[in-house]
Symmetry: D3
Subunit: 321 residues, 6 copies
């Protein structure tokens, strides 16, 4: 297995998750047309890594782009957005595409994103090679965001987390799970996690949404999600973790009361949308006990942070609500 | 076939749809616990009619009740709400149930309603006899309302209209269609009808929602839906019609620019929610060229109105947007 | 001079303004296409009366229609809306037209209305005969409503009252005056009347707007205007009076603290927009000391009320803020 | 003891509370200046009854007026508002006064009302004879409404229910209790009753407020309060009951899940504020097992309803949440 | 002609507009009383430059101040605000003055600004020498902002762009044009540019407003305007360009889909109002193919950016919507 | 007396208040669990200083912590929040505690804070030694914030400033005073200071709140308070001063029109809530003519600023509204 990006924890640092010292790893202007590159997803691919990136152009049109990297830190992002071919349906429109996630299941890389079809909903596509992409039916009716597939079937069905929303800057939002026999029809919707009472854990009291692809660990499915508090000057997005039951992932076994990474670096607090830390992907190496988390910062740039996988799991269990 | 309720158009009346002279047919206190009985659905059943009724009790808890009638005008509504057994899933919670529709497909009566499951979504159930009822998986994730099934499969699949919503008094809303091979998993979501521009047809410029079960006519599927305008003193709900393509019902062939019945009778203008006319069911007799439309009035009582089916269709074509 | 509509004050009645006993004088369905007929304006014309009426059709498209009456109570309203020809400009679009006022100045009848041009603003037109109508430049930029012309030039210029607004159900609004040398270019804008403090006169604390054409009396210009209070269940529109300085009509000499007619009859409290009394025109006969006020009721029908002109003036002076 | 107003329950009526057949008992124009007379309080006084009435005048200024009645149904209300003298403080301003309650404690009649002092708060005054009135310190800081005194000291202190609010049409609100040794300084604030979850009892899910003066019964303190649901067309106020612990009245022993009287009569559904039933006072006769409840209807008129005291208590216990 | 401020484009930079390396050129505390100096306008004057500056003082009172500069980069701003004398009207009040623009027409420097007169509207004044200033009638009724005069008459009339608004932080706004024969009366209002659909060009989808004085080029009138997107954490203002038809400037010939300068420097992203780039003036030299754009940054400081005029025009044509 | 923290005014600086050069003095992560430490209060204690600090933990739970310092700049803050014992009441719940103030009166240190009890209200406690803390009755009903005690009794009673609020990000707020004979019951509520008109002093036009404990000076009570303006991108908090009458502190003798310290340093403009300067305590030395003001910055860190006491007083008098 190739090495995932890594940098040791700074001396004396007590935090479970720490930032890469050279953040942000992708600048807002990294491709000629871009205004911002953030909320993006990467996976191991061949002898390196591939990814699907949200690059808003200077008209602030939102679209997703393929990119490649040898080391997971330096990225070549295509200058043209992904052109989809029809997958399991005739081609349907996409007014916009943003906030992609990528999951390898069985034989291909599945991509989910927020797809503009009479409002935001969850688009699904797949690729074998990050060159040819196929677009399938939207998973759900609008309005929905943050659709994240599990990396393997559960009880014989595909499973997806998502966050039902409204058609604006949704001031509410819980995480649900849905199942599909075929990536075309979805059902068996269950509520997984709700926002917390303000008094108990305010950083996640306004809305929450799935972030990274769930990682199967001994205790179940480890997820890294975002939570939002509505301050008098806007939303503040931070990052937490939870562990879902392996076979019944609508059961939350552990969920952090504390956020694990909140906006505190300048590139997280200043940008097109101040005070946003938004995880969309993670690479992990169980042997090395390493996890590298990719996250959008301030809706402007892409950053990376690291944790020891065991510490992250232990903290999730220990700090659980 | 039994006779549907009917009363001839009053002399000199030019309207396509006219009210029953003895409206409302069901009073708000028709059963001992009720605060209001409205937005309810009826179908032919045995030698008469059966229905599923929204009866809010005096705690303003919303639930659905079975009822029976010989003539479609005088109704005996059960005093206890429907108790569901599990259908195609383990029993899932229903925080509330309201706005039912009933459709006979193949061998049974399918019921859809607004089901409270972490917000409003579309509940599905069925009965063979209006005594035993079975609850299935919710069709969609929240937030959704006004789920209406087609009375037969289209291209081999069940088809349902619905209106994605938010978690409050939704100030927007278009009609979508979704398909299912099995009444459990749903997909192939398409937008059918959107709200109209204010200048063009203001009565349906804020939100619209499917009402009665589609009726197959020569021109396609006739639907009677509600439209809403947001006045400075609240929402005003009126009733219009449209005809959808038979095989591709996401294609709207005709849709009335004018409303066909709006709040103008006292029981429609005064009540728990003033100015509401909300169709949920229709009985029709093609031979007699008759249609009887059941609608909730002012979120308080149930009323009925009549039309000549041919006139209704012709008007829909002639007055089309 | 022809007789204006009149009915004596009911025995024992103490109110300054009293309703016509056969109100409403124009029903919501008075012409075949109409949903509602209200907020309309009338003037003496030939041996009777003519008017311009707001008739919303059943698509709830707003437009203005000419009408005629022998006695000012029974009206024949044209079934087709007014077709404008170009007046002092090339024809400009009107997305909608509503709330007309009519003023005779010099040689013709000037009409002002709320004109839809990228939002509501004040449209201007004129007619000599209520058959041919000519549309001029809009007086102002959007967003504006309730434009009312003075019946003669002031200091050599046309003068118009209006209420700057926003693009929705405006929750604020004061009355301004503007002047024009030519009915094409407008300027010298001055604030005339503002909303009142809640504690002082709450019925007019949310917004106010000019209603009838100003009447020149000894004390100055008598105007009948509407005032609005925002209750927890919506706006409530009532009617008051004020007297403006003859030569400097931005100076308010008297203004009633009390409303003179508020929604209390059923046709004023129940309708498409409950609790609206909205004056748009008045006929007066100084010799007989009579005034007849036309007003829209509940945004649905047209009604008329009467007062002794001298009592109305005296009350305005005596009850002044 | 004098007879309280009474009318027997109509034959066959099952409701616990029934309306007086001649409602409303006080018309909106019952005194010359009034626009509306509602949300008012009465007590036994001498050989009849006295009361303090909210009469909004035609400027919609809110003030309180004394009134007298022989039979509790026919009222003579003073034409001038109550003029306060200073009680336990120098005179403080009252921008407005509304929604009075009256309680006899020890030697005098205490009046509480919503007092405008930089926002709504609870004013306190007293009278011995309903001729001379004395105004004391406001009980609380703004913003507060619906202050209701207990008719006797509890644990040696005066006790008052109230509903903390905001400075507008407050969309939230729970009932609290506060204590005072001297009617001047208040403290020991405790939450008594909160709004209910929508699914459980929606009529009281938006806000609640104390209504009538608590009545000491065997089970504790019987209170009649209002609850509000926010429909898509505004607030709907209904009436329920609760029983508080005699010595620790912040403990709710019983509280109705159902409303007992909701807006259903025309004068409750139509008026300045549609759909309001708002109890402010009750007369009871334990020997005759009678209670007469005074309530404002549609913020416009005053009405009365009756119940058998024992039935009311039994229902409160049986229907308790 | 004197030299306009200039700095060559940094090596390798691809952007059409680039920032001055020593930005901001005017600090928030540049005069003793100021809290912020921004959204200001400059013109060539004598052997240097003069300008009118928005300086909010430390009470956050908004006013306009004259200033002078030899090189257009280093400015001496008067410590006292401009005192107006009456121009073409008696002096009218100005509750506040902000966001000035300056245009030389015929024989004098015309100044337009957002003038507080019962809400924001467009004030007009002139000066010959930047010492004596004369205030004229407001161009329009409230509510309006961003009034910008054309530098010469069009078809014999003065022409002004403006943005009708509401009385708060207006969440909408299109650019209109109006004409005047005399700088006193205005009419012939036409809509010039509207906000764009979110999917097409989101940076200008919430509101737009004219910025710099139009520059006559071969293709018509080049304007530099601001556009706004409403993110979940507030408005973000960026800068774009358009070219209007020379003789019918309500016709937009070209308009950039992309923004040309958006908030990305710290002084643009951090300040009293984060994420604001707001152009108010430009100096250009056609011979040298240079343009220098003055803009407010974060509602706090004044900055300058440069472009090659030909590149700016070419981009506007090429990137047009 | 011990030395209060001090740093001389920078050469050439004209501001009355200047920042400490090493701000912030307390970092957001100064204790292991903290997300932010701000809006905190200090007093002289023994041979140094003690304080009560608002430390939000990483679950964003708000609580107050004791801390100690030798020099007022370097602080040791306890890692565990203050555990209260019951004071003058049985222990009442605190859903959260934030924004403490500390005042020494007679024999002990009184602490007030925003206490979560069915919404925010003013909690009261005391300590003799900053080790044992006693919690008393809440001063007021919800909703209230910014309760600040006077350091001595006034006319024999305890006196407290506070700001009645709502249950969210209150968009309004004036300062009131209340009195208590015993720290248990409160009354004699008077309005002290209201927000200012926008045109007059916009930085304090949305809401204001007491900050530091009043300081008795020759002219009366000097208070340092915060004022808020609502910009299009959120609230901006700045700091001003006022002088209240010594014996009747509801009388404002002087109040600055200008703010004295506004968000301009990076740590004030960037953080969890951008653009916040929030004073909660001050140390002063009349002999040395020094005052040191502690304030929260950006709801994230704690900073300190200095002034010459005489200059501060003179400015307050000279710049008074």
């Amino acid at each position: 297995m190739k090495n995932i990006p890594w940098e040791n924890k700074p001396e004396g640092k007590k935090d479970i998750i720490w930032r890469y010292s050279k953040n942000p790893i992708i600048d807002r202007y990294a491709i000629p047309t871009s205004n911002s590159i953030f909320n993006s997803a990467v996976v191991p691919f061949k002898d390196g890594f591939a990814g699907v990136f949200r690059c808003d152009n200077k008209a602030i049109q939102m679209n997703i782009f393929a990119g490649f990297s040898k080391n997971g830190l330096d990225w070549d992002i295509n200058h043209e957005p992904i052109q989809m071919q029809s997958g399991n349906t005739e081609m349907i429109e996409s007014d916009y595409k943003y906030d992609p996630r990528v999951t390898f299941i069985e034989d291909r890389y599945w991509i989910t994103w927020c797809n503009g079809y009479n409002g935001p909903t969850i688009g699904i596509g797949y690729t074998f090679d990050f060159k040819e992409f196929y677009q399938c039916e939207n998973a759900f009716l609008p309005f929905n965001r943050n659709g994240v597939l599990f990396p393997e079937k559960i009880n014989g069905k595909y499973a997806m987390l998502s966050r039902p929303s409204d058609n604006g800057h949704t001031p509410f939002g819980d995480i649900f799970i849905s199942y599909s026999p075929d990536m075309k029809y979805w059902g068996e919707h269950r509520c997984v996690m709700q926002v917390t009472p303000f008094e108990q854990s305010a950083w996640q009291c306004t809305k929450i949404g799935a972030g990274t692809v769930p990682i199967l660990i001994d205790e179940g499915w480890l997820i890294i999600y975002h939570g939002v508090i509505n301050t008098c000057n806007g939303f503040r997005y931070a990052m937490g973790t939870a562990i879902l039951d392996e076979n019944s992932p609508d059961i939350v076994k552990y969920r952090t009361k504390s956020y694990l990474l909140g906006p505190a670096a300048t590139y997280e607090m200043v940008g097109d949308v101040p005070n946003v830390v938004f995880p969309c992907a993670a690479l992990h190496d169980k042997d090395k006990d390493q996890i590298a988390i990719y996250y959008g910062a301030a809706d402007t740039v892409t950053a990376i942070a690291f944790a020891k996988l065991s510490e992250l799991i232990n903290f999730t269990i220990k700090d659980s609500l």
